[in-house]
């Protein structure tokens, strides 16, 4: 049987199955259960890394807006999502996970491309794809996540909500209010806090005086566990245990995935101004992709051909998503759509006024 949340740490060294150097350190029984997911996880992580690098160049070319890189956090996203079921489970991201949600279908990348280009069609996924739109306001997605889980409880529909947030979001009121309500209602939510060390330039020591984020779980009536977020196999094992706990009606779980933001906060940020070089070097040696590659290669579950295929597939996916997004039209007055179910009289008049201006501009 899989992991028990009771056996996982809330403070101190996070749970891991594979050490930084690729050596196996966790229980063999657990490793055997998750190892077969390895190639799928590694392919997803490589896809995210390739897409991430492509987005930097697209951003420099002006083909996509400012974006928040996922580099370094691939295992903590893709490993978590791998334990959830697209047919019943919601994924509630903030803004740094969208390149890691391939499990929920190719539409996610296309919609993210629209979102990144500033197209209104980037604000949703079609019916049946249970991924909520990206959230900019820190921790504001967490009340929504609790509402989604609660709404499914009311309908007696199965499913668990996987809600991402970062270490910075833990300082927001919405974080406390949401975990508290989820605990009270025993809502099936897995709160997945990626502790990546930095909130733009704010380091952990300025964010919290607590020994860990996971330690807050029991204060809200839920287990809190710490996992090495750069160990994809440990992540998927812990995510599966957390999901099983919530799905069994035992209430929410807080998981702290200890990871690292290897790049800037966004393409508009320069971390060289505030991140010590020594720290960057330390975490460069803890790269989640390299770690999983070593394990899988040693297990003869990964080779150069698979690596090349994963990279090529990722390239194609980015090309397809951005080409399709760039060809998706939008009317210049589309911002009047969908403010209300029916536009107000004032909105209709304002839209006519704008159309007149646009026609004049076109005629000049």
């Amino acid at each position: 049987m899989g992991l028990s949340l009771d056996d996982l740490p809330a403070v101190g060294e996070p749970f891991r199955l594979v050490a930084t150097d690729g050596s196996v350190v966790g229980p063999t029984a657990v490793i055997d259960e998750v190892l077969e997911r390895g190639p799928e996880l590694l392919a997803g992580m490589i896809a995210a890394r390739v897409a991430n690098r492509r987005l930097f160049s697209l951003q420099r070319q002006g083909r996509t807006g400012t974006f928040a890189p996922i580099e370094g956090e691939e295992a903590s996203v893709i490993g978590a999502v791998a334990a959830f079921e697209p047919a019943t489970d919601w994924i509630v991201p903030y803004y740094r996970e969208l390149l890691g949600l391939g499990r929920y279908g190719s539409e996610v990348l296309y919609r993210y491309a629209l979102y990144q280009r500033g197209h209104p069609g980037g604000g949703y996924l079609p019916e049946g794809v249970r991924v909520l739109f990206p959230q900019i306001s820190l921790a504001a997605q967490l009340p929504h996540a609790v509402g989604l889980a609660w709404g499914r409880q009311l309908r007696k529909a199965p499913g668990v909500v996987l809600a991402f947030c970062g270490d910075g979001a833990s300082s927001e009121g919405d974080f406390a209010e949401s975990l508290n309500l989820a605990g009270v209602r025993r809502a099936p939510v897995v709160f997945w806090l990626k502790n990546n060390g930095w909130a733009i330039s704010t380091p952990l020591a300025a964010q919290t005086a607590a020994p860990s984020f996971a330690a807050r779980g029991p204060a809200y009536g839920m287990p809190g566990v710490r996992v090495d977020g750069n160990d994809a196999l440990a992540v998927v094992a812990v995510a599966a245990a957390a999901r099983a706990h919530a799905a069994a009606g035992r209430g929410p779980v807080l998981v702290e995935a200890v990871t690292y933001r290897m790049g800037p906060h966004t393409t508009a940020d320069d971390p060289l101004r505030y991140v010590p070089a020594q720290e960057r070097a330390h975490w460069a040696a803890a790269d989640p992709i390299e770690r999983l590659r070593v394990v899988l290669t040693a297990a003869s579950a990964w080779d150069d051909t698979q690596e090349a295929e994963a990279e090529a597939a990722a390239d194609r996916a980015v090309d397809e998503a951005w080409t399709r997004a760039e060809a998706t039209p939008v009317a210049p007055d589309a911002f009047f759509d969908h403010v209300y179910a029916e536009p107000t009289l004032r909105q209709r008049r304002q839209r006519e006024e704008l159309r007149g201006h646009l026609a004049d501009r076109a005629a000049r």
Partner: protein, 328 residues
């Protein structure tokens, strides 16, 4: 028809809507066994159970914010913020999330969410219980802002709010919960948004108000008639957003004079929006400068001082005289 107080009308409407639509869920602080601090939800939990009438932790942001997820999963949430002054603790969820749900999802998700909140002064509350903040929300596209002045309208507008596919901030005048009492239609009663109510017809001056100030204006108009022979028309906006500018403009076009009354501070209040609209729409019909009667530009005062803050019929009458004497 049955004569009901406003709080009875609200309670009856909540009961009817919950009975009509199993998706309706009432959530808020003290709304369950206690029936709400004003008893607006009294008896609902006994009738519909604790799964549909839910006592929430004391956390406004998640009371409002969880409605987003509930609505996406098919519920029709009716949340109560215990006093509108506490809505500031949910401002980011109400204005940044709930109001924008349909818009930012490009029409994918509706937001059939009603947020009820008592507001306004006159009952000697502690701090932050009496603020009239409606204009702050009127500046947030995506929200409807509704402020009934009668029990009949409270029932009819609340039913419309709960059935609306868009989010509605439903403002209930706390001093009017038991003071306002009128004939309420039995059974289904829906009042559309954006249609103002003619409270009192008149020829000489148009007086515009909403919520508890409508009754103040009606009294002032009666005194204007009795004491000065001025025939004032009183219009109740019923909904701030959408704003029935056409009814107001048509009235001012006839009377040539306008007084707009609000409890909120003067500066940047919704009365200013009404006046600006009147000036745009009927500038050449105006026979005197528009007049605003409002709270003062100070934070809502403590109990011993509030009588000097909330506009009363003396001040509204003075406004009517100012609007009518200019060319008298």
């Amino acid at each position: 028809m049955t004569v009901l107080t406003m709080v009875e009308a609200i309670r009856a409407c909540l009961h009817d809507e919950m009975a009509r639509d199993g998706r309706v869920v009432v959530l808020g602080q003290d709304v369950g066994a206690n029936g709400g601090v004003f008893r607006a939800t009294d008896g609902l939990q006994a009738a519909f159970g604790p799964e549909r009438v839910v006592d929430m932790p004391l956390a406004e942001a998640v009371i409002v914010g969880s409605c987003v997820g509930l609505a996406i999963e098919g519920a029709v949430p009716v949340a109560e913020v215990q006093f509108l002054g506490f809505a500031w603790q949910a401002m980011h969820q109400l204005c940044g999330q709930v109001a924008r749900l349909r818009y930012r999802s490009d029409g994918r998700f509706a937001a059939p969410i009603t947020i009820r909140a008592p507001f306004g002064g006159g009952v000697r509350t502690p701090e932050l219980h009496s603020e009239a903040l409606e204009s702050q929300f009127a500046n947030v596209p995506g929200l409807h802002v509704v402020a009934p002045a009668s029990a009949a309208d409270a029932k009819g507008l609340l039913a419309t709010a709960i059935r609306s596919p868009d989010p509605v901030l439903f403002l209930e005048p706390l001093r009017g919960y038991r003071l306002i009492r009128d004939e309420v239609p039995d059974g289904e009663h829906l009042v559309p948004f954006g249609v103002a109510r003619l409270v009192r017809p008149g020829r000489d001056v148009t007086v515009v108000a909403w919520s508890a100030q409508v009754e103040v204006c009606r009294r002032a108009a009666q005194r204007a008639q009795d004491e000065h022979g001025i025939d004032a028309e009183v219009i109740d906006l019923r909904t701030i957003v959408p704003f029935d500018a056409a009814t107001v403009a048509a009235s001012v076009a006839r009377t040539g004079r306008v007084v707009v009354v609000q409890e909120a501070p003067l500066t940047a209040g919704f009365a200013s929006e009404v006046v600006a609209t009147v000036v745009e729409e009927c500038f050449y019909d105006l026979e005197s400068p528009p007049v605003r009667v409002s709270g003062w530009d100070v934070p809502y005062p403590v109990g011993l001082l509030e009588d000097g803050y909330v506009p009363d019929d003396d001040r509204v009458l003075a406004g009517i005289l100012r609007a009518t004497e200019v060319t008298a």
